[in-house]
Amino acid sequence: MSVLSALIVAVLFAVGVYLLLQRTLSRIILGLALMGHSANLLLMVVGGRAGKAPIIGAFGPNDTVADPLPQALALTAIVISFGIIAFLLALAYRSWVLTENDEVEDDLEDARIAQLGEAEMRRWWRRSE
């Protein structure tokens, strides 16, 4: 059980990272969501074996009891990532409305350096001609 969960955590994380490295915004957001799921699942795996509900009266002296803390932590993390992913999607939609394009744009510095490089190239070509 634990091995399977760990494997799922790993696969989700790997897929998440792969999607995160893409150029399109929607894939990046999906990647982040998958990584979030993977992290939450990891929290559950960390809690140890499944067991009876940790409520007084719900388990006997010999029962294994589930660790409630990681569940509470995972629940909180899920709520948070739900809210932020929703916001991110709204923002991506806004970006699409503004630019009609789903791609992440270059940051200013990158654009400037690319420009400098191009100018340098052009000068170099002219000199060699």
Binding site: I55, V79, A86, F87, A90, L91, Y93, R94, V97, L98
Partner: protein
């Protein structure tokens, strides 16, 4: 948007809407020692309004609810934080829970916990947040995209 409304979806949503709201209230009150709680209840209620939105667009949504979503958000936050502050003012720690039992003559004795008020706050915050998002998306249907606040 209004021209392409589906009759089946519309009717189903109308039939379901109040049942869903009732279910969300059940989840809210059951949350004390059964599965449920403010967040789950709030999500179910948001789903109810979300369905309204899917079926009838922004107008149907604004017709079914007249209070602005920000008020839901604010009142919810007030509920949640004041629950904490009340226990602080009564000489206990911040957010310390207490068990309240009320004797309602006909129904009998009702026992609940002060956590319920916190849960009501969460319920309202979740609902308000979702309504806000739906409202913004509804505006996005209009011709002026600059109106949308992300």
């Amino acid at each position: 948007m209004t021209q392409r409304r589906s009759v089946i979806l519309d009717l189903c949503v109308q039939a379901e809407f109040h049942t869903l709201l009732l279910l969300s209230l059940y989840l809210l009150f059951a949350g004390h020692n059964q599965p449920g709680g403010g967040f789950a209840g709030g999500l179910v209620a948001s789903c109810a309004f979300g369905l309204r939105f899917v079926a009838g667009g922004g107008q149907a949504l604004s017709r079914s609810i007249s209070i602005p979503p920000t008020t839901f958000l604010g009142v919810g936050m007030l509920f949640a934080i004041l629950t904490g502050c009340v226990s602080l003012l009564s000489g206990h720690e911040f957010l310390e829970s207490a068990i309240l039992s009320v004797d309602l003559m006909v129904i009998g004795k009702v026992k609940t916990s002060s956590v319920l008020f916190f849960d009501i706050g969460v319920y309202l915050v979740v609902l308000g947040m979702s309504l806000l998002v739906l409202e913004q998306l509804g505006e996005a249907d209009g011709s002026d995209p600059d109106e949308v606040q992300p």
